[in-house]
Structure formats: structure tokens, C-alpha cells
Amino acid sequence: MADPKRLKIRVDPDKCQGHNRCKAVAPELFVLDDYGNAREAGDGTVPAGMEDKAYLAKSNCPEFAVEIIED
């Protein structure tokens, strides 16, 4: 794959119910609060090489709370 697009992830806090699937499949991309609800790590930028993991997190979130934005 030549020069993949830069991706950004975002967790919609109103949709997230803390299933922790995102954290399980892509631990580098998410952080959890004291209640187990997820947030994107840092500003959500997906480091190069981790695009697949980002999509995996999105497609395993039962609440459809993970969004991916292509820059």
C-alpha cells in the first residue's frame, strides 16, 4: 500500500457504553477513564501502520461509537 491516508479516530462519548472492545483490539489508540469508558488516545491521530487496528476497533464497537476521519 503506497502512502496510506492519515487517519483520525474519535469516540463519541454519548454513544460509548464501555464495552472496551476498542481497547482490547487496539490498546495503543484508546484510553479508558475510571469507569471504563473510552476516549481516543492523544488527539486521535492514528500512527502510520496502525490503520488496520483503527478499522478493527471501529468494526467491533457494539455501540457504533468509534468514528474514523480520513484527513
Binding site: Q17, H19, N20, K23, Y35, G36, L56, P62, E63
Partner: protein
Amino acid sequence: MRARPPVTDWATDFDHLDPRWVTDPFPIWDEMRTACPIAHTERFQGVYFPSRYADVRAVAYDTDHFSSRRIIVRETPPPPIPAPPITSDPPEHRPARMVLLPAFTPDAIKKLEPRTRALCNELIDKFIARGTADAAVEYAQEIPVRLIAHMLGLPENDGDLYRRWIKMVLEDGITDINAVIQASTEMQQYFMQHVQARQQAPGDDLISYLTTVEFKGQRLTPENVIGSLRLLLIAGIDTTWSGIGSCIWHLAKTPPDRIRLVKEPDLMPLAIEEFLRAYAPVTMAREVKQETTINGCTFKPGRMVLLSFPAANRDPEMFPDADKVVIDRKENRHAAFGLGIHRCIGSNLARLEMTVAVEELLKRIPEFTLDGNVTWSEGTVRGPRKLPIRFA
């Protein structure tokens, strides 16, 4: 026991305790999904059964029209026995849930992993030399009972008591309301003495956490604490027992999947999610609070809705090859732990128990087959209750 006549039409007269449903519900749900995606019955004083993922999701999300004050379909509704947060609706639900959540985050649960592994091996030690075992009774059942006791700081050997109460609430209680009331009274007495002891001398366990945690500057009342303990016991044991049992059942009857997991242990997390999807143990219910229409079906107030996460998980519109167990399925938004605000608080614990139970069993006994008749529980929680395996 079976006063109800056999079912002749699943769309308008279903009975979720019918022996055919209990043994193998999947073909029935597939038929319903195409013929009548929101089935109903006049049995149990009126119940609806959505079988499509989208409709299950719609009901789970709509807390305005569907209440959790009754979450089990029974022949006679009991006097309400509140068990917040599972029986709560907004706005009471959120604070009751927030108190429990910190004890169940992935980091908090991770600490239980060593005890879980040790526990699984202690159980395997007891039957490995025999060459046969009832994997439901001697293995799957014992793990959640002992682990929850460990977590609460109670004697691991009190498991028999817990199982008795759970059976009274979840199974006998469907047709015999006195069983529910009796179990609640016994649990109340049992937990009261432990709560009082922790108030005197708190330790490093979940009961101590609950007796000392402050919410908006206030401690929980002993009644609140006991309510939560009752819920954790009822919600955490049969469910996980069933989840572990279904994994083992599948692996016993599907050698290629078992062999693959032995060879590729890294697949375990995906496989566990797939088992949760395909054999989701828990079907909840809601009471219709206000009339509403979903997918062309009108829901009448006072009636119940079975919220079948297991049926939703088999919907081919949501999951390609929904009727196949694909242990390396990559996209898996299954609903085994519910959808929306009541998402299972114990999901991280349940996943740990299931993963470790299957891993340790495969390490010690990589080859096993079914060895006789399997029986299944009925009602709210579905899983094997007799699971004879042979490995000699």
C-alpha cells in the same frame, strides 16, 4: 409442570420454555426472522419477541417506552424486587451504575487473572486422571462461583448456597413466585452479616469497597449494598457458567476449531467473541411502559418484550454467515453483553473467565469429545447444564 399446551405457531403463540426452543432455538428464530420479525404470544400474560438485530437494538435503546422494572418474563409478575442498576430506568439508573463501574474496569479485573488460572487448574486436577468429566458441573459452573466469592471476600465454598438462590430466582421462579421471595430473604440475611462485619473491619474486597465508597459525599446504605451484592451474584454466575460451557460444548463437537485453537492460541480473543456471539447466554426482558411502534408492530403497555441478544446475534443482515461459527471472525459487533445503558458491568470479568477457562483446559486436555447427552438450561440464561466429555 408443563401446564401450557405445545406450540403450533411460533409467530403468534411462541413459548420460550418449549422443549424445542430450549434445546435448539436457532432454527425457530431463523424462521421467525423471515416470517414475522416481531412475534408475539398470549402466554405469560402477553409477550413480544423481536428477532432482528435492528429491532432488538431499537428496544434496548428506547428507555422511554420500554422499562427495566421487570426484566424476566414470568407466569405471575412478582412484587417488584429492585436490583439497581439492572432494574432501574433513567434517571435513577446512571448513579447506581457509576458506583459499581470502577470495580469492573479492565485494569481492576486483570488483577484476578492469576487466581482464575490457579482455580481452573485446581478444578482440572480433580478430574483429569479419570478421563471423563461433566464439564458443565465440575468445571464451568465452579469457576464463576468461586471467583465472585473471591472478589467479594466470601468463602469460596459457599458456592452451593449461591447456586441454590440463583436457580430459585432464574428457573423455579418463572412459574413459582414464592421461590423468588424465599431466595431474596435468604440472600438478605446472608449478606447482612457480611456487610456488618466489613463495616467494623473493612478489607481489600468488593464488599468493603461497597460499604465504604462515597457517592455525592454519602455512603451507600446497607440495603443498597445488599441489593448490589444480590445483583452481582445473580448476574455473574449462571451467565458466565453458561458462556464457558458453550465454548467447551462447541470445541468438543468441532474438532477442527479445537485443533486450530491449540495450534494458534493467539486466536483465542477472536474465538471467545465469536462464541459469545453464536451462543450468547443472556435474554433479558422489558415491560412496555407506553404504546409505541417499531418495524410496523405496535407494542401495548403492560406487556413484556423478550430482548433476545442471542437472536440478534444470529441475524444475517448484521453478521455474514450468521449461522456459522467462524472462530477468526474479525468484524463482530455482537450484543451478548447487551446494548445501550445497561451494558453488562461484568463483561470484562466474564471475558477473563471464559478466556482463561478455555485456555487452561486446552493446555491440560487438548483433545476431548462429547460423551453422552447434553442438557440446556431454560429461560433467561441459556447454557449447558450437563456436558459429559471424554478425553482418554
